[in-house]
């Protein structure tokens, strides 16, 4: 994007609800992230990763027209060192976020297993046993709580472990594990890797950009194959593994005559309890006693994704909707925990009756009411919050709830994706692999990540989703990317009309939209599990890096997105990021993260600002992988495979061929 265009740009959205409310904000001169992004341009030095401020000799701004090597920091640090350190520290931040979230879930599981709390129980025993079997935990003759305790204790070690390997590494493909070990990329413990990366990147320690970035990869793996994985799997054990469920995603999700409560943030532990509380007759009666017709719980951001997938709780959208929701005037309480909570909402609520409630001991906001959550008294806290919202109902004034609503089908856990391809007895990834091999499906794309007011809200998500499905690419989504598609109605099975003919046939056979909502941003771990299963199913190589798949975060903004990008790359994916590049200043770092990493781990991370370029790079990579696998060249509308007709002699050879997969029609 040119400088000229940037200056003229006015932050907006493709979501008509958001457009309406932004108009209202402008009329009332209420500041939002949208308007602030118009007036506050990103720091041009920091944006490109050229600012070093890890010591007081600087900050050093290493941007020069004369190239990368023209300037050095006061300490002598090169631009490449500085850029690598900056992005590595962001990865540490992101990893810390997901993993600390996971720590809370793991502790909750342990508390439930040890029966320290009545509010949480093991809901999904099947998943518990599946997770236990990953670790070789003998479950025979044990109660579910005994197994859960062992599993929780086994995995809790991951956080503070000093030596060895974090738990879920062993669930990757054999080839990937060997590769990680070869390059010393296996995380030893979550806290250790984060701590070490912060140490490594402080003043005067590691200055070799490649070494720094390797350490960042290792740290990110502690997110993808430990923190996030724990976050996902343990939440499933406690609250149930998602399966498809119908719901709505819109700022129009608020109800005029109900007490509207928004739960916003990331962790499912409190929000699950608020779901329970909001459905309790005593509290519904309480709401009625305040003049409301009932309680309407609405999710936002990734908290929304957690309770949407498990309970079908309606969503009011993603990260950039948090201020806009308050602007409806219909929100009695906005309850927040951690991550992606804009402090701005404390200012926005001042003009409305909305109560802002912070709940996490880690996240307080000046001006908010703080009701601290603790898992041992979870339901009591939840009830207190619901009551507070009800009490606030009589204070409601004018409302402006937008009237655009879209339904969606969400809840594609990797367990369900397997199930949907064969039912309880024959569930597998064979049909998906067959579809890719035969060219019905050209490839896969995960379009994930945040919203960022530097681009029109949802516009890049929307463009890429529509283009990719039209090109027979099956899309999976999480986080705010999923909200974007949900809000524009792309998560309905009818969207298959927009898909290419091959993808459409597959969608029709299974009854799915061509865009699958897989959960919150922590649930990107589900994508890794799916891709591992695809690799292991056979016919598409033997590792994630062989699969025609691309990960894209077109509207990213959070450090967590970078942690995800790094672990995805380390797991073998090509990852494309839109918006700004935090490594734009250093061609050296760019080269390490593209060519260098592709050689080392089979994946790479590239920052591509233009949407057409992102699309082209995605399709080119998918086609490149197809070619490497010697799959038929993708041609829209032409698919199928040469049938192998089996004679008796062929059948006798099945056992020998059992491990050498030969594609469609093989075993």
């Amino acid at each position: 994007m040119s400088e000229e265009k940037k200056e003229k740009r006015k932050a907006s959205s493709i979501d008509p609800c958001a457009v309406d409310l932004l108009k209202y904000a402008e009329e009332c001169s209420i500041q939002t992230a949208f308007s602030r992004s118009d007036s506050l341009k990103p720091c041009p030095i920091g944006a490109e990763g050229a600012c070093c401020k890890i010591c007081a000799m600087g900050p050093c701004r290493l941007k020069s027209k004369d190239g990368e090597d023209a300037l050095k920091g006061v300490c002598g640090a090169s631009l490449a060192t500085v850029t690598a350190r900056n992005i590595a520290r962001m990865v540490a931040g992101g990893t810390a976020a997901h993993s600390d979230h996971a720590r809370d879930v793991a502790n909750t599981l342990l508390a439930a297993a040890e029966e320290h709390t009545k509010d949480y129980q093991i809901k999904d025993v099947e998943k518990l046993l599946a997770v236990a079997s990953n670790f070789g935990i003998d479950t025979s003759g044990k109660t579910k709580n005994e197994v859960a305790k062992e599993v929780a204790e086994f995995v809790l070690k991951d956080f503070g472990q000093q030596k060895g390997e974090v738990s879920f590494i062993r669930t990757a493909t054999k080839k990937r594990q060997d590769l990680w070990r070869e390059h010393k990329l296996v995380p030893r413990g979550v806290d250790r890797e984060v701590c070490e990366l912060m140490h490594r990147t402080t003043m005067g320690v590691d200055t070799d950009p490649e070494d720094i970035l390797d350490a960042a990869l290792r740290t990110s793996l502690a997110d993808g194959w430990s923190g996030s994985r724990i976050g996902t799997d343990f939440s499933d054990i406690l609250f149930g593994t998602p399966k498809p469920i119908k719901s709505e995603d819109s700022l129009g999700a608020f109800q005029k005559k109900h007490v509207n409560i928004v739960v916003h943030g990331h962790e499912p532990t409190l929000s699950e309890m608020i779901v329970v509380a909001s459905e309790m007759p005593e509290l519904i009666d309480y709401a009625k006693s305040k003049g409301a017709e009932g309680i309407n719980l609405v999710g936002m951001c990734c908290t929304s994704n957690e309770i949407l997938l498990r309970h079908g709780i309606k969503s009011a959208g993603g990260f950039l909707n948090q201020e806009l929701g308050i602007l409806t005037g219909a929100v009695e309480a906005m309850v927040v925990d951690v991550q992606c909570i804009m402090p701005a909402i404390a200012d926005v609520v001042k003009g409305f009756h909305t109560k802002l409630v912070t709940t996490s001991p880690k996240g307080r906001i000046p001006g908010a009411e703080h009701i601290e959550f603790d898992e041992l008294h979870a339901l009591d806290v939840a009830k207190k919050i619901v009551r507070l919202a009800c009490d606030n109902f009589p204070n409601r004034k004018d409302t402006r709830i937008p009237d655009y609503g879209k339904t969606m089908i969400a809840g594609f856990s990797h367990e369900y994706i397997k199930y949907m391809q064969g039912g309880r007895f024959r569930g597998s990834f064979r049909p998906l692999n067959d579809a890719i091999i035969s060219g019905r499906i050209r490839g896969l794309a995960g379009i994930v990540g945040c919203n960022n007011p530097r681009v029109d809200q949802d516009s890049l998500h929307d463009y890429l989703v529509r283009e990719l499905i039209a090109n027979d690419v099956l899309v999976v989504q999480t986080g705010c990317g999923a909200h974007a598609s949900a809000k524009s109605g792309l998560l309905r099975p009818e969207t298959m009309e927009l898909a290419g003919p091959g993808l459409r046939e597959v969608c029709e056979a299974i009854g799915i939209p061509p865009v699958l909502h897989m959960g919150s941003c922590v649930d990107n771990s589900r994508i890794l599990t799916v891709l591992t299963a695809v690799a292991q199913e056979g016919g598409l190589g033997d590792d994630i890096s062989d699969i025609p798949v691309v990960g894209i975060a077109p509207e990213w903004m959070s450090e967590k997105a970078l942690a995800i990008a790094f672990y995805a790359v380390a797991s073998g994916l090509y990852v494309i990021f839109g918006v700004e590049s935090p490594i734009a200043a250093s061609p050296t770092v760019q080269k390490i993260m593209s060519e260098g990493w592709e050689k080392k781990v089979g994946g790479k991370l590239e920052f591509i600002p233009g949407k057409e370029e992102m699309l082209a790079a995605t399709l080119a990579h998918i086609d490149k992988k197809r070619e490497a696998l010697k799959l038929r060249k993708y041609e829209k509308g032409k698919f199928g495979v040469e049938k192998v007709l089996m004679s008796m002699a062929d059948r006798r050879k099945l056992e020998e061929a059992a491990h050498a997969h030969k594609g469609v029609g093989g075993v």
């Binding site: 049909p431 579809a435 056979a509 089996m646 056992e655």
Partner: protein, 740 residues
């Protein structure tokens, strides 16, 4: 679109579950919860339910639990729009339907409603009903040698009777076993074929299971047991059972006529087995692959292409030999009987002199393809007089001269024994016996279609050339029809038969250095290996050492491979280094080797198509033998089918083993464990079939009169009475060294 199929299948599953519950309630009302039920002749409870869940349903009460399990797989119909995904749910509904159908059919058996007897065109027609374990095992060898490469389940009714016949003839000629069920407004392919006078039954490979769609479950039950018996899969390991079927059982459903909810639902169940549905109406197709190997639902409205479409959709390769005769040709016609009054020509059968003989000549002595009918003018006139109602009986000397660089006189009997199959496969031609006790008939129907005596030569020529291409380069056939000439040639042939007998008798395990393997069954029992020695034939009874050697010569990379014995490590038990090494490799490292002459120590494994089972009877210090086809009880308290369940699948089970019938009278029969003298019980029919050889062998063993010491079911079916009998007779096993 698929949503339509999903909705129909899910509706169908709810309906059939309700029907099953109703039938079960009626059965319980009549007999009570504790009433024990098993389908006729199976060791696998309700086989589908057992295969999927491991539930051993033995009483009506337990059927309620199984039905509850099925109901747990039912879901709501998908909405018209903005629906939830449906494929997994539809396949579960299909499974629930199979559960419900099995319970419905079991209940119907209890109520005396199965197998269905229906009045068709004035006479009672009895459908097959449940398919027994015995039939499954009887067909064992055909399932693996390519002579029965696939299975069709036809549901419904063809548009016309002629099309029904054409489709079934097409399937027969491709050797496919066809099951018939379902109906369209009361009419069905079964009835269409009966109206057209087509023979139904196992011999014709056209088996009418029942008149309703749910009778298709009997075929599913059968397929499920394929995985349990031949595949060694365990009940409850649903994925393995179903995957085995997808990979190895080449079945498909052909739906003729309009679809309905139950057909869709049953079809969904079939898809979980990897069996696709091909319909002759315009239906929404499911073409993406993955649960089945190729397409799941295909529409083919051109009946001429229907069978081809089915075969291609299932991924089946069938090679058939075209025989230039004016009648249909294929194994489906092998079993047909020709009644005396329908016979135009008859040869042999003790009524006229007759024989058949394969003899080796020099290449130069043979004019390849020459078929010669050698008959006097008088005989020819007699032949001319043949007409319906006038049966002409003639002597017959069928002499097949063969030559080839790799031909060996040892292969003559191998080829000769095949003549029976070759001649019998022609529709309207019937063959029995062998050598100089053969017997042939040609029917009026075949004669009317233009079949003449010379065509017998054409059949033999084409089949021998096609089936033995590696050892036979030239073939000529002579059909002698004059009595004096036949008698003269018969004398020559008899001299050769005698020499062959002596040759076979002289062949012992010690006199050869190479045995032959048989891996034919690995298409079904992936880790099973037979090693065939001169004194131990294959457990199916179909292959002896000479057969296996010929098969190797014919197809050097085929399923019969030479196994060099190597160093003998145990002459008593029959162990050789070469054999053990071969077994280790070809059993895919599941077996260290085995003993050829012992059933107690590392016995040879079984695929599942054994002719007989030998089982230890500890209290009698001996063995009992039970043959396939004997459905009664045995002294160890298990029927053949139950015992068979523990022996198959390529697993070593000391004390139990599958054997070929003629191994019993081999000198090496369990020689390490005490041999023939250990045999304490066998069914009377088996004893009679082996009578002469048993007497000869018992004399060799020094126990004349031993045959009368062997207990049978007419004397005792339980252990206690058997022991009484054995002590009364002074059976040698009782005083032999303890077997354990």
């Amino acid at each position: 679109m698929s949503r339509h199929i999903a909705a129909a299948a899910i509706r169908g599953s709810h309906k059939i579950a309700a029907e099953a519950a109703e039938a079960l309630n009626m059965a319980i009302a009549a007999k009570g919860d504790d009433y024990r039920f098993e389908f006729p002749d199976t060791a696998f409870y309700l086989p589908h339910i057992f295969g999927m869940t491991g539930m051993k349903v033995e009483t009506l009460g337990q059927m309620k639990d199984a039905l509850d399990y099925a109901k747990g797989m039912l879901s709501a119909e998908p909405a018209q729009e903005e629906y939830l995904p449906y494929l997994g749910e539809t396949l579960d509904a299909g499974q629930a339907t199979l559960f419900a159908e099995e319970i419905l059919l079991a209940s119907r058996y209890v109520l005396g409603l199965e197998p269905v007897v229906e009045k068709i065109d004035g006479s009672d027609f009895t459908y097959n009903g449940f398919i027994s374990d015995t039939i499954l095992r009887d067909l064992g060898i055909q399932l693996v040698d390519g002579s029965m490469p696939g299975f069709a389940v036809i549901i419904g009714k063809a548009p016309t009777d002629e099309i029904a016949v054409e489709i079934c003839r097409d399937l027969q000629q491709r050797n496919i076993l066809t099951f018939l069920c379902g109906n369209v407004d009361g009419d069905s392919v079964t009835k269409q074929l009966l109206r057209k006078g087509v023979d139904l039954g196992w011999d014709a490979r056209l088996v009418a299971l029942g008149p309703e769609t749910y009778h298709a479950l009997y075929a599913g039950d059968w397929a499920c047991r394929g995985a349990l018996t031949f595949g060694g899969k365990k009940g409850g390991d649903a994925l393995s059972v179903l995957k085995y079927n997808k990979d190895r059982i080449f079945a498909f459903a052909m739906v003729l006529g309009p679809m309905n909810d139950l057909i869709w639902s049953t079809g969904a169940g079939a898809i979980t087995y990897g069996f696709p549905a091909i319909c002759d109406t315009e239906v929404p197709e499911i073409r993406p692959t993955g649960v089945c190997t190729y397409e799941h639902v295909v529409s083919q409205t051109d009946h001429k292409k229907l069978v081809d479409t089915c075969i291609e959709t299932r991924g089946l390769k069938i090679t058939i030999t075209k025989v230039p005769v004016p009648v249909a040709y294929g194994p489906a016609f092998e079993g047909e009987r020709i009644r005396k009054e329908d016979t135009v020509f008859e040869f042999g059968g003790q009524k006229t002199t007759s024989f058949e003989w394969v003899t080796t000549k020099e290449l130069s002595e043979i004019e390849d393809g020459r078929i010669e009918v050698i008959a006097s003018a008088e005989t020819l006139a007699k032949i001319e007089s043949a007409a319906p109602g006038n049966t002409v009986r003639l002597p017959m000397g069928l002499v097949i001269d063969v030559a080839g660089r790799k031909m060996n006189p040892d292969f003559e009997p191998v080829i000769e024994r095949k003549l029976h199959d070759y001649v019998n496969c022609a529709q309207g031609v019937w063959h029995m016996g062998q050598r100089d006790v053969n017997w042939m008939r040609i029917s009026q129907q075949a004669f009317g279609d233009g079949f003449r005596i010379k065509h017998l030569g054409d059949i033999v020529y084409v089949m021998v050339k096609n089936k033995f291409p590696a050892i036979v380069d030239k073939v000529q056939v002579k059909l002698y029809l004059d009595d004096d000439k036949v008698k003269e040639m018969q004398e020559q042939a008899r001299a050769v038969y005698k020499a062959r007998n002596e040759r076979v008798a002289s062949l012992t395990d010690e006199t050869v250095d190479t045995f032959y393997s048989c891996l034919l069954c690995q298409s079904f029992a992936p880790n099973h290996v037979c090693v065939i020695s001169p004194e131990r034939l294959g457990l199916c009874g179909a292959y002896n050492w000479l057969d296996a050697r010929a098969a190797y010569e014919i197809d050097p990379t085929g399923p019969n491979q030479p196994v060099a014995k190597g160093e003998c490590t145990d002459p008593v038990k029959g162990r050789w280094k070469g054999v053990d090494g071969y077994v280790f490799q070809t059993s895919h490292q599941t077996l260290e080797g085995f003993s050829a002459y012992s059933i107690m120590d590392a016995p040879m494994t079984s695929c599942g198509c054994f002719e007989c089972i030998v089982a230890l009877v500890p209290e009698a210090n001996g063995f009992m033998i039970v043959n396939r086809g004997y459905t009664g009880m045995t002294p160890i308290g298990m029927k053949f089918s139950t015992l068979a369940g523990t022996v198959g699948g390529g697993v070593q089970a000391p004390g139990f083993g599958g054997i070929g019938k003629y191994f019993i009278t081999s000198r090496k029969f369990l020689s390490a464990d005490g041999g023939l003298k250990r045999v304490v019980w066998m069914p009377k029919s088996l004893k009679e079939a082996l009578r002469e050889d048993l007497i000869r062998r018992s004399e060799e063993e020094g126990v004349p009169g031993f045959i009368d010491m062997i207990c049978d079911e007419t004397i005792a079916e339980d252990s206690e009475k058997m022991l009484e009998f054995l002590s009364e007779k002074g059976h040698p096993a009782l005083t032999m060294e303890s077997i354990l």
